[in-house]
Symmetry: C2
């Protein structure tokens, strides 16, 4: 059972009565149920009436005394019992009255199927807000509008109140979809693969109850062992992240997030009218939330097949057991290209295997038992490998049944699985027309048709296990910014140019957050520049003070070693700026101690309209954009986030002693990133900050150039709490 | 019909009689056929006898007068007709005699199923060579040994001489597999998806006939419209590349190449005993061969579903038509993340669509007809989009059948397909339990369960179309190296150190191939270095002459501007070398004009033991390895290869004017790469060559550092013809 943070625990307690009414009702009313199963509301009612629900099914219809053979009532008040769940199918303008009636009766849960709300534009959006207000006034909670219904209940209270004719048998997977039709398609495919369903919620426009609310509920629901989400947007992303992070400590959350590309986002916008965030930001969010992001519909199903049986996949070492050499090679490729490892087994294991196998067999890993392999050899070899200590998982790949029938192999694998125990799970791939026999899954063995799908799901499960072992310990320490920062930024805004902080203000801001900068002095004449150089007494950089991309317009001179050269640099820069038509940028220049050692990196943040601040870390210098070697996380950053994002860079090795270069001060770079996160959290006045390059040195780190932009109007920009914590 | 190069045409003419005997026999003998269908030879015979083959089936068995109810003969001579194809199932030691007998009878085609040859070690390998010699002596051709058989024939001569019980219906796909069992599994899955088979060959150990031979045959076989290959190694890679390049101008070749990872290669080695090449090299080979490389078993099937119906996919613009918003978003993501484009349709098209659709529908692209979409709307909308000129392909995505049945939609799509014509193909995705109705494929519409699979296959097909339009025109001009090169390299070898060419010889080699180097003079004392600097009269680099990675051990000094500094540099380098324990490397130094502009790149080649020389191009400098921004091609390079490999680099933009830097001399870099390819082809004495950095300048390109290694023994190293061409 998940231990929820205090206030989440309270949120859940508040939600529980409504959630129980949605997902475990005893009486369900369908308002607007139609007699014609060729209409959507008729189909939904037919599905509900035909789903074997043992509680009360109450069609509500003003004109007909019975609906599809079930006694109907003209309104909710007339029903013989107060329904736990009311499903509403009436036209949009009539929905408000139904909610009001339900509210007055004390109904806790209303699912609004009807469309014609926020997805249609502003008027619909207003109508939707009115629904939510009406419900709130009575303490009634809503799912929808514009949704495809709910599946839930247990035993003889199991019900299907959706458009979907085919739903999976009861099981331990709970599903939410932001697209009704797509969600119903996934349900059909789940059933086809033998995957069982706990609850299904088509969340629709999310006028009231949101995905995070259901996550909270399922996080402590012993019947839910896996959550699948189809998302096109992430409403309340910061709450979602916080809830998902805690829930996924117990239950894996698999997310298919669509709208990854421009065309996908365009489609999603016209589909759900929701703002969507860039895909890199969503990736960061889901990673930090501890969710598993699936890249395709099929990967969702593969992950469901794996994780609904068993959560614990503790390591990356896979033993491959097969009756086909080619299939073994393909499985080995699939494992290793997904980051799993296929180690050779130990000599002792190899000896034990030889006792069971003919000489033509290969006892390396992949273990090729050759085409003659019997069901008994499958059992014995799987057991030897599973108990060898050499591997963490056994992947059994069965080829076309030449002499040994697939069902016999499945039976013996079930015996091997019982013998080995859950410590070393078996996953099965049956690479032929009929695919894996259903008896495998019934025996607790996840099974697949394609080795690539099995390996990809397995690798994702191992990664989730690794992350889960680390995540719960990670908290951000709440802190509040000093009052002086507000005053400083208010004054700096008056001096800013198009919102960009001037050189001195930028330097002051960085220093107040503990970020080091090289010695720098501004100069307004060639003579002043020469004086500064002679005082600094070492090579300097002369550059434009204005916060622009300086090198693109000739605004920088390096290796300036004499006062004369410094004066000349000022004149040269001004000539270049004039040629570029931006002479006014040359009024103020900076003479700065030149950093000649260390590694150029970047750090910074910008703000996603939905997700809030996104912190970036990466390789700096001229190649930044071309190489794209950056990592992004949603602020606030934990220590683990900082470590992970830096380690994930290809340029990480440049910081840790690469080809004879010195080991650099990783901690100092980490501290810069933490400071960036702190600025992002504490200073909502700042729209973006770009530190490039950050020189990471043997000791310390120096920000050589920085650009900081404020929102032009005080109080503009997304609101972020000035007090922040986990 | 492919127009084959002259000598390939002759090769094919020589192969044709044997190929016809293998793939279109009238009489098939099975030597060693067993009465027991529980054995492999009994199963193969049962499959053959049960496959409806209308020609003569001739079991040959010394002990039994009939096999599974068919009259048997004690030997081949006793058969009433000379078989066209002899399938051999006897134990390994007895195979030679069967081949001799078949040869004497004039049999042209022998398929050796029996195992126990090269895959078992050296003795088996000798036995296998003996088979090939025996066959050659009689003009008999072999498939195998160690294979799973052949499927072929047409009409009432259709036959299945494999272990596989289930083979697809006749069709236009020809398949070769280096793994018998895996190949049979693919056949089962092809049948399941309604894909038809032309020929199947389990190629086994390739004692004689190789994959390229079958490719040649299928390249001019009107019944073959698609070739699928499962490879673990590429025997005769240069011939394979040449043949595949010509064949794929007519027929797409889809390759699943296993052994991509270390474990995969280990498995492949133990499976087929074949040497395998690095995966990057194989990628280059397949790309240059015009083949389509599939990454998974499922991708093979998806590509087969697409390309067996239709070859021509001329463009990347996809129109998505769906009845589910979520599915449209997922399909759009799948298209764009695979490099396809989902453009908004034109205003005129949008207007036309609005006439057919309700107001809630979205007429942008993806076109969401909403859940109420009827089969008629599917037809009309697909037609409008297909004929709009806005897109090159229509992808129709059908969700769960709520009110409209899938079969009705399939029927109307077939009508739309007929109406639009093949210029704008329709591909269909049916995203639900039952998947696409088979009638779609029968109507000529490729159909899929998952949008991601459809998009991936479609993108690969478009890429293949683009490549096919360019490939045939590309030839390498044959040339022969000057005689003087041989003399020079023979002498240089005597002066080389561990095979590495000295500084002067390296420079001479480069210059003889037209590769420019900066002015450089060697120096042995600090004083000499000073003299050279004063003559060059500009900043120089002082560095170790020996061919080592100089900067890692302090062997380079940059920005040396005075004679005194040059002398000091020599002393400094020698001190560093001494400290590193390699003082002897400091005897000879080079004083070289310093290049301060342009972009650092790399170029070079090494030799793969099977594929021959591999040319590399990439971003140079310190980050080479970390960024991995390199492209590899198999030599000899065509102009197209050179252009493509440079364009494929992330750093390409650094050469074409990046953020204000000048446009550099791309042609000069191309010429360096062509020269590298020429050295690789013309100088088999050279094991490897590494030009790093190559400075690409405003005008020209300069190789600042080069390392060239000769094979230590004259005549060592892989043999490459000194005369080369396409």
């Amino acid at each position: 059972m998940t231990e929820l943070d205090g206030d989440l625990h309270l949120q859940l307690a508040g939600l529980r009565p409504a959630m129980d009414s949605f997902l475990r009702p005893q009486a369900i009313a369908v308002v607007g149920a139609s007699s014609d199963p060729g209409t959507l509301s008729g189909l939904l009612f037919a599905n509900l009436a035909g789903s074997g629900f043992g509680g009360a099914v109450l069609p509500v219809n003003k004109r007909h005394p019975s609906i599809q053979g079930v006694a109907a009532y003209p309104d909710l008040v007339s029903c013989p019992v107060v329904p736990d769940l009311v499903v509403v199918c009436v036209p949009a303008p009539a929905v408000g009255a139904v909610i009001a009636e339900a509210g007055r009766l004390g109904v806790k849960a209303v699912c609004v199927i009807s469309a014609g709300f926020a997805e249609t534009g502003e008027a619909g959006s207003d109508l939707q807000d009115a629904l939510a207000r009406e419900a709130l006034a009575h303490g009634t909670r809503l799912v929808g509008p514009n949704c495809a219904g709910v599946v839930g209940g247990e035993g003889d209270l199991r019900f299907n109140a959706t458009f979907g004719r085919i739903v999976p048998p009861p099981g331990n997977i709970s599903v939410i979809s932001q697209s009704g039709a797509f969600g119903l398609g996934v349900l059909e495919m789940m059933g086809e693969r033998g995957l069982g369903l706990r609850n299904f919620v088509s969340i629709g426009n999310t006028a009231d109850l949101a995905i995070a609310d259901f996550l909270l509920y399922w996080g402590t629901d012993p019947g839910t062992e896996l959550v699948l989400l189809y998302l096109e947007s992430v409403p309340e992303p910061r709450r979602f992240m916080r809830v998902a992070k805690q829930v996924s400590a117990r239950v894996p959350i698999v997310v298919l997030k669509a709208g990854r590309t421009d065309a996908g986002r365009r489609g999603a916008a016209s589909h759900t009218a929701a703002l969507s965030s860039g895909d890199v930001a969503v990736d960061a969010l889901l990673h930090q939330a501890g969710a598993i992001r699936a890249e395709s519909v099929e990967e969702v199903l593969d992950l469901a097949a794996l994780l609904s049986l068993h959560h614990r996949y503790p390591g990356r070492r896979v033993g491959i057991v097969t009756n086909g050499g080619g299939s073994g090679v393909i499985a080995a490729d699939a494992c290793e290209s997904n980051g799993l490892v296929v180690p050779e087994v130990s000599p002792a294991t190899a000896d034990r295997l030889r006792a069971w196998l003919p000489t033509e067999a290969s006892v390396a890993n992949p273990i090729d038992m050759i085409a003659s392999a019997s069901e008994g050899q499958y059992r014995e070899v799987a057991q030897v490998v599973g108990q060898s200590g050499d591997v963490d998982v056994v992947m059994v790949v069965f080829n076309v049944p030449v002499l040994t029938p697939a069902t016999a192999v499945a039976r013996e694998l079930a015996a091997a699985h019982n013998h080995i125990g859950a410590e070393v799970p078996i996953v099965a791939v049956f690479l032929n027309r009929d695919g894996p026999p259903p008896s495998l899954r019934q025996a607790g063995i996840a099974s697949f048709v394609f080795p690539e799908g099995a390996a990809r799901a397995l690798a994702a499960a191992v990664t989730w296990n690794e992350a889960r072992d680390r995540l719960p310990a990670e908290r951000v320490q709440p802190r509040t910014r000093p009052a002086s920062v507000g005053t400083f930024l208010a004054e700096a805004r008056l001096r800013a140019r198009d919102g960009w902080l001037g050189f001195g203000d930028t330097e002051a801001l960085l220093e107040s957050y503990g970020i080091a900068v090289p010695k720098s002095v501004t100069a307004r004449t060639p003579h002043e520049a020469g004086l500064v150089q002679s005082k600094l007494r070492r090579p300097v950089v002369v550059k434009v003070a204005a916060p622009i991309h300086k090198s693109d317009i000739g605004g920088v001179r390096l290796d300036v070693s004499t006062p004369g050269a410094a004066a000349e640099a000022v004149r040269g820069i001004r000539a270049d700026l004039e040629a570029a038509g931006v002479a006014d940028l040359g009024d103020e220049l900076v003479v700065q101690e030149q950093i000649t050692e260390g590694q150029e990196m970047i750090a910074g943040f910008n703000r996603d309209p939905l997700l809030g601040p996104l912190v970036v870390a990466g390789l700096g210098g001229r190649l930044v954009e071309l190489m794209g070697d950056v990592a992004v996380r949603v602020s606030p950053l934990t220590d683990l986030d900082v470590t992970e994002m830096v380690q994930s860079l290809r340029s990480y090795r440049l910081l840790t002693g690469y080809r004879g270069s010195p080991v650099l001060d990783l901690d100092a770079f980490h501290n810069v990133l933490k400071a960036v996160s702190a600025v992002a959290e504490e200073c909502p006045e700042i729209a973006e900050m770009d530190l490039n390059p950050v020189f990471v040195l043997d000791k310390g780190a120096m920000v050589v150039d920085a650009r900081v932009r404020l929102y032009m109007q005080p109080g503009a920009g997304p609101v972020t709490s000035r007090k922040w914590g986990s």
